[in-house]
Structure formats: structure tokens, C-alpha cells
């Protein structure tokens, strides 16, 4: 026993089995078992309630629940009460598809909402198209969902990655410089967002100094940041989201990189800014919806409603996504007086959201050609500490209408094929 750090017995095979089980842990998930009544209208919702997107997903569900409460208070859909069945996709494509199939085949839902993760949203869209169920993608941004892989039954509330890139590219180029370096999440959302930003930069005459593809759930960004700084860009664009955004921004500020390179990005979320220490709340971004809109009708009421169910906290864009997705079904079904998916999908073409749902100044409508909601981009800067409210962490400089940031339908690659 001369060396206390050696000669210790244990079971290597067990450790190996254990390591394999840690892998399985990433996809294993608890089940949500809701209570339901037979004659209700059923909305199914698939979102990653566990994993790196748990916070935004939870907020989407909270928004949808509020919508269902309001819908039921006003008589439901076609006089029937509405119930929301929520399933956890666990941020895994296979699990998400399985849950969507379960909701459609076993629970017989009339509508589907989801998912935060672009890859899962795209996969679920294939299932809902096959099963002919009206589907609103609440928070998956990748272009293809309302682009080359669009379906007659699939509409989307959140922005496309192209819309996000278009909303800030000119501003970043003019204000920060022409050499951009990217930190990009290595999956569908990140790839299309990077492509859109890089295409815009090329058009403006700038250059990409590099693109660091980071696995989802990366904890240590330092190797990527070392590379990024060595490339000497003018702007470091963070396209990562969720906890990746928090880890990356926190490390950038600790390394002092924000003093040497402009740090910015496209989509930023209140969930991420709230999870950051004040000194790391920096940069120019776009929000997809913001809670502080003093002169816009119904926003204050929505904020108050969410505060009641959210421990006093304000709504984020994700609450609004969930709320709008669920409200869309009720609005169109009550207008058309049917539950027929094809008729409802057709009625949603160029369907305009009323003020109590759109909760923003510009006209908001589902575009006929690609089924994309023309929703505004809230462009501005992160602020370290809210002045009047600790959650007022973003200063909105401009609110640009969706049809100004969205590319023309012809450029999206979408051709909607309706069932015979």
C-alpha cells in the first residue's frame, strides 16, 4: 500500500455498462399522463420539456395552456371544451415522432403544436402530413419547414432563420464591420441560420472568417473561442440557443473577448438573458416578441395573465408562440365551423390574427404561399439591468414587419401540394 492512489479493486465491465447507460439517459424521458374527457376537442403539443430547451418549451406550454383557458371561457371550439395533451419530446427526434404518433393515433387529437427543436418539428411535420392533422409549428425555426419541405397542413408561428438573418444583417454590417465569425449549433436550425447570414454578408460585400460548428449541449466553448479570436473578425455572431447561448456568452465575457470583438447574433431570448449574469447581457439581437410594448392593445393584459401563472414573471416570446399556436386553431375552426383539416388549412391561407392574439403593432398573417406567419422582428440591444423592471433586459430600437424580413415566396422553395 505504498501508493494510496493505486491498487483498488472495481469492476470495469460495470463501468462500461454504466457509460452506455449515461448515453441512454440523454433520450430516456418521463411520461406526462393527462386526464381527458371523451367529447372534448383535443390539442396535442409536443415539446422538449427536458434537456437544453426545457425552459423555452415549458414557456410555450404555459402560453398554450393560457390560450386553452381563454378559449374555454369563451365557449370552446364549436361549443365543445378544449383540452391540451402535452408530451415531452426530450429534445430527441425519434422520441418526438413517437409522441406525435401516439397523440394522433391513440389520443385522436384534432390539432398538433410543436416543437422547439427544428429537427423534431420538421420530423413531426412529416407525420402530421401523413395523418392529415392540422399542425402549427410553434418554435422550430429552420427554413425548410415552410420552405422546400412545406406541407399543406403545416403552418408556423415563429420566424424562419432567413427572416431572423434578414432582420439584423444590414445593421450588424454597418455598425460593427464586414468580417464575421460564427459560433453555430450543429443541427438543422444552426445550419440554415448560418447559410442565411453568410448569404446576406456576401451580398453586402463582407467575408466569413470562420464557422465553428458546436454540438448541441456544449459546455466548454473555449476551443472555439480561441479559434475565433485567432481569425481576427470584426463581429462574433452567436447562433447558438438555450443553455449553449448562456455558456458561450458567459465564457466570452470572462475571457474579455467582448472588449476586443463585437459580440452579437440573430435570435436572442429572454430566457437566456435572464440566465446570464448582468455583465454578460451584451450585443445587438432580434427578439421575436417582447413583453414591453406600452402602446400596443392587449399586451398588458397578456403580460398580467402570464404573470399570474408564471410566479410573477413576464411572458417571453415562447409564451406568445404557444399562445398564438393554440389560438390559431380556435379562431379558424370557429370561423369556418368545421374541424376538417383540409378546409381549415385552406382557410388559414392569408388569415390575419386579431389584435388580442397578435400582440404587436404590425399586420400579422399566415402567408398563403408558404404558410409562414408574417410576424415582426423586435430589433435592439441587450441591457445588463432593467430600469423599471428587473426583467426588462432588452431595449427595442425598431419593430420590423414580417413581410419586410421574409424572402418572397418564390425564394423559399415551397410549393404547397394540397390533397386531392
Amino acid at each position: 500500500m505504498s501508493n494510496p492512489f493505486s491498487s483498488i479493486t472495481a469492476d470495469r465491465r460495470s463501468v462500461l455498462k454504466g457509460a452506455a447507460a449515461v448515453g441512454a439517459m440523454q433520450i430516456a424521458t418521463p411520461f406526462v399522463i393527462p386526464v381527458r374527457a371523451a367529447d372534448n376537442i383535443k390539442m396535442g403539443m409536443v415539446d422538449p420539456l427536458t434537456g437544453v430547451y426545457a425552459a423555452p418549451a415549458g414557456n410555450e406550454v404555459m402560453g398554450a395552456k393560457l390560450a386553452v383557458e381563454k378559449i374555454n371561457a369563451k365557449g370552446g371550439i364549436l361549443g365543445r371544451q378544449v383540452e391540451l395533451l402535452v408530451e415531452d419530446s426530450a429534445n430527441d427526434v425519434g422520441t418526438g415522432v413517437q409522441k406525435a404518433r401516439k397523440l394522433i393515433e391513440r389520443d385522436n387529437v384534432n390539432f398538433i403544436i410543436g416543437d422547439v427543436n427544428s429537427g423534431i418539428a420538421a420530423a413531426i411535420a412529416q407525420v402530421t402530413a401523413e395523418k392529415k392533422v392540422l399542425h402549427v409549428v410553434s418554435g422550430g425555426h429552420t427554413d425548410t419547414i415552410t420552405g422546400k419541405d412545406c406541407h399543406w397542413n403545416v403552418y408556423r408561428v415563429c420566424n424562419t432563420t432567413r427572416m431572423e438573418a434578414n432582420s439584423v444583417s444590414d445593421l450588424l454590417y454597418n455598425k460593427y464591420g464586414k468580417k464575421w465569425h460564427f459560433i453555430t449549433p450543429d443541427y438543422a436550425f444552426g445550419h440554415t441560420l448560418y447559410d442565411a447570414c453568410a448569404a446576406n454578408l456576401k451580398k453586402l460585400g463582407g467575408t466569413v472568417t470562420g464557422n465553428e460548428l458546436t454540438p448541441l449541449g456544449t459546455t466548454d466553448f473555449s476551443p472555439y473561442l480561441i479559434k475565433a479570436r485567432a481569425a481576427k473578425p470584426d463581429v462574433l455572431l452567436l447562433l447558438v440557443q438555450g443553455s449553449d447561448m448562456i455558456n458561450c456568452l458567459k465564457q466570452i465575457v470572462q475571457f474579455g473577448l467582448d472588449k476586443q470583438i463585437h459580440v452579437a447574433g440573430t435570435q436572442q431570448e429572454l430566457e437566456s438573458l435572464a440566465g446570464l449574469p448582468p455583465e454578460a447581457r451584451i450585443g445587438i439581437w432580434m427578439f421575436e416578441w417582447y413583453w414591453k410594448q406600452p402602446n400596443v392593445p392587449h399586451v398588458a393584459e397578456f403580460v398580467a395573465d402570464i404573470r399570474k401563472v408564471n410566479g410573477g414573471k413576464v411572458p417571453t416570446a415562447r409564451h406568445w408562440f404557444g399562445y398564438t399556436s393554440a389560438m390559431t386553431f380556435a379562431l379558424v375552426a370557429n370561423q369556418q365551423k368545421t374541424l376538417d383539416a383540409v378546409k381549415l388549412a385552406q382557410a388559414l391561407s392569408d388569415f390575419e390574427l386579431p389584435p388580442e392574439v397578435k400582440l404587436q403593432p404590425n399586420k400579422v398573417y399566415y402567408r398563403k404561399g408558404d404558410h409562414q406567419l408574417m410576424t415582426s422582428a423586435f430589433i435592439g440591444e441587450a441591457v445588463s439591468k432593467g430600469k423599471d423592471d428587473p426583467e426588462d433586459l432588452f431595449k427595442v430600437d425598431s419593430v420590423v414587419a414580417g413581410d419586410k424580413t421574409a424572402p418572397p415566396v418564390a425564394d423559399t422553395g415551397c410549393t404547397v401540394k394540397w390533397p386531392a
Binding site: 479493486t9 469492476d11 470495469r12 460495470s14 418521463p30 472555439y224 480561441i226 458567459k250 470572462q254 446570464l276
Partner: protein
């Protein structure tokens, strides 16, 4: 290029030091009790959240001092109530128990503190880089490495020079004989488990200063720690130390040339070690079952 490589190797050593802290805790528990603690990442998260909760009252330093022993106390209770009844059974039982416990802890932290990440601020003098060139060596990271080095040294001294440490080492070799000598092995296992969880709690407080504090934080850090144990050699704490540093450097350097493989390289390293030297780099032949 050479400078970039040097940067990444240094950076990898810093990251590796953190894996070492996690892996040593896992290794302690595995070696004496044969428990593969899947909930180790969960205890890391508990440590981080306890420190976050205490910080407004006792500050960052107070949180750093109080959170790890509190986490260890929770670990002690978990061992007494849940894990102790499973000793003597197939290791699969404790494996499944801690697997479930990991989910319970993750959902529990989500229930008590919310799914949204919590902001953790480190003292200002630690949150700056030491030099313009070596910007990735911040005061905080250096502090982290210092804590790891001190902890490893103290652990070494504890195992080498204290009666309790000698008993733990003896127990890992032959628990039956140790019991026959009149030593209370039930208490020995409890204390050893708590010591392992103390390291997880300490890792959690340190990680919260650098990463976002959220319920899934431990999951991403657990796998590299398991790999560090396998690469270093199950049963050897020195091997665990070496394994942690190795995978940190391998991951950092790979991220420079082929970022997509920065995570995969850890598994490749593990596969190569298992093929060439199945007992791990410093694992002792004949000691493995």
C-alpha cells in the same frame, strides 16, 4: 499554428482538471462500494443550486465553503436510506437506482428552482483574463485549477496518512478482512460516499461560476468523467487523474482541427485504450473482475 496548438493544450489541461474533480468523486464511490453513481451529475447540480441560493446571504466564498459539505450531507443520507440496502446485490440494482435518482434530482431542481437558467456571478477580480494573449486563462479558471490541485493533494494525504483513509484503501482491497478486524464498514462506506459527493458538490459550485446553472448541467459533464475513469484505469485514482487531463487535452485539440469530432474523440480515445490496454492506462492487472 504552434501558438494555437499550445493554447489548446493549455486550455485542455484546464478543462481536464475539472473532469478530474468530477471523476475522482465517482471513482472513490465506485472503488469502495462498487456503486456506479449515475446521480453524480445530479449531486453536482444540487451543489451549484445550493451555492446559488446561499450566495445572497453569505456571498460567493461562503457558498463555496458551505455548499459542498451540505451536498455531502445529502449524499450521506441518500447512501444510508437508498443505497445501503442494495450492497451485496448485483451492481445492476444500485446502477438502476442511481439512474432513476438522476432523473428525480433533475426534475426536482426544475420543480424547486425552475427550468430557466440562473445567473451566477463570480467575484469581479476573478472574472478577468490574466493577459491579452492568454485570454482563456482567467482568474477564475486559474482559481478552479488551484482548487482541484489542492483537493487532489488533500485527498492523497487523507488516504495516505489518516486512519480513516487507510481503512478506505484497505476496504477497496478486501472489505471482508477489514470487517473481520472489527471496523464498521457500513459507516466507512457512508463516509466514503459522502466524500465522493462532496467532490461533486464542489464541482457544481465551481461549474456554476463558469457555465449556466440549470437542471441539466450535470448530464453533459458526467460522461467525460466516466470516460476519464475508464481511460485511466478503473481502481486507480492516479489513473483517473491522468484520464481526466488526457481527455480534456484531446477534446480541446480536436476542436481546433475538427470541431464536429471534439466530443467523439473522447470515445475514440476510450476505445483505443480498451483495445490496447483493457485495464486502462494505470489500472492494475488482475485487479479487475
Amino acid at each position: 499554428m504552434t501558438q494555437l496548438l499550445l493554447f489548446n493544450v493549455t486550455n485542455g489541461l484546464i478543462i481536464g482538471a475539472f473532469y478530474v474533480l468530477m471523476a475522482l468523486g465517482l471513482s472513490l464511490i465506485l472503488n469502495l462500494s462498487n456503486v456506479i453513481n449515475f446521480a453524480h451529475g445530479g449531486f453536482l447540480v444540487i451543489g451549484g443550486y445550493i451555492a446559488y441560493t446561499l450566495t445572497p446571504y453569505v456571498g460567493f466564498w461562503g457558498g463555496l465553503l458551505i455548499a459542498p459539505p451540505l451536498t455531502a450531507a445529502i449524499g450521506f443520507a441518500v447512501e444510508r436510506v437508498l443505497i445501503r440496502p442494495l450492497y451485496g446485490r448485483d451492481p445492476l440494482y444500485s446502477l438502476l437506482l442511481t439512474f432513476g435518482l438522476a432523473f428525480i434530482i433533475e426534475d426536482g431542481t426544475r420543480f424547486f428552482w425552475g427550468a430557466q437558467g440562473k445567473p451566477v456571478t463570480v467575484p469581479a477580480f476573478l472574472a478577468t483574463p490574466l493577459s491579452y494573449d492568454f485570454f482563456f486563462i482567467t482568474g477564475y479558471r486559474l482559481f478552479m485549477v488551484t482548487v482541484v490541485v489542492l483537493t487532489v493533494a488533500l485527498l492523497f494525504l487523507f488516504l495516505r496518512y489518516t486512519k480513516l483513509g487507510v481503512r478506505i484503501r484497505a476496504g477497496t482491497l478486501d472489505l471482508e478482512t477489514v470487517a473481520a478486524l472489527g471496523i464498521n464498514i457500513r459507516m466507512l462506506r457512508s463516509i466514503n460516499f459522502a466524500a465522493g459527493i462532496f467532490l461533486a458538490g464542489l464541482s457544481g459550485v465551481l461549474a456554476a461560476g463558469q457555465l449556466g446553472l440549470e437542471p441539466t448541467m450535470g448530464t453533459g459533464l458526467l460522461m467525460p468523467s466516466f470516460i476519464a475513469i475508464i481511460v485511466g484505469g478503473v481502481g486507480s485514482l492516479t489513473g483517473t487523474l491522468l484520464g481526466g487531463l488526457l481527455i480534456g487535452v484531446a477534446s480541446g485539440v480536436t476542436a481546433m482541427f475538427f470541431p464536429a469530432a471534439s466530443e467523439a474523440v473522447m470515445y475514440v480515445l476510450m476505445a483505443v485504450v480498451l483495445l490496447v490496454r483493457p485495464r486502462g492506462l494505470l489500472g492494475e492487472e488482475g485487479m479487475l473482475t
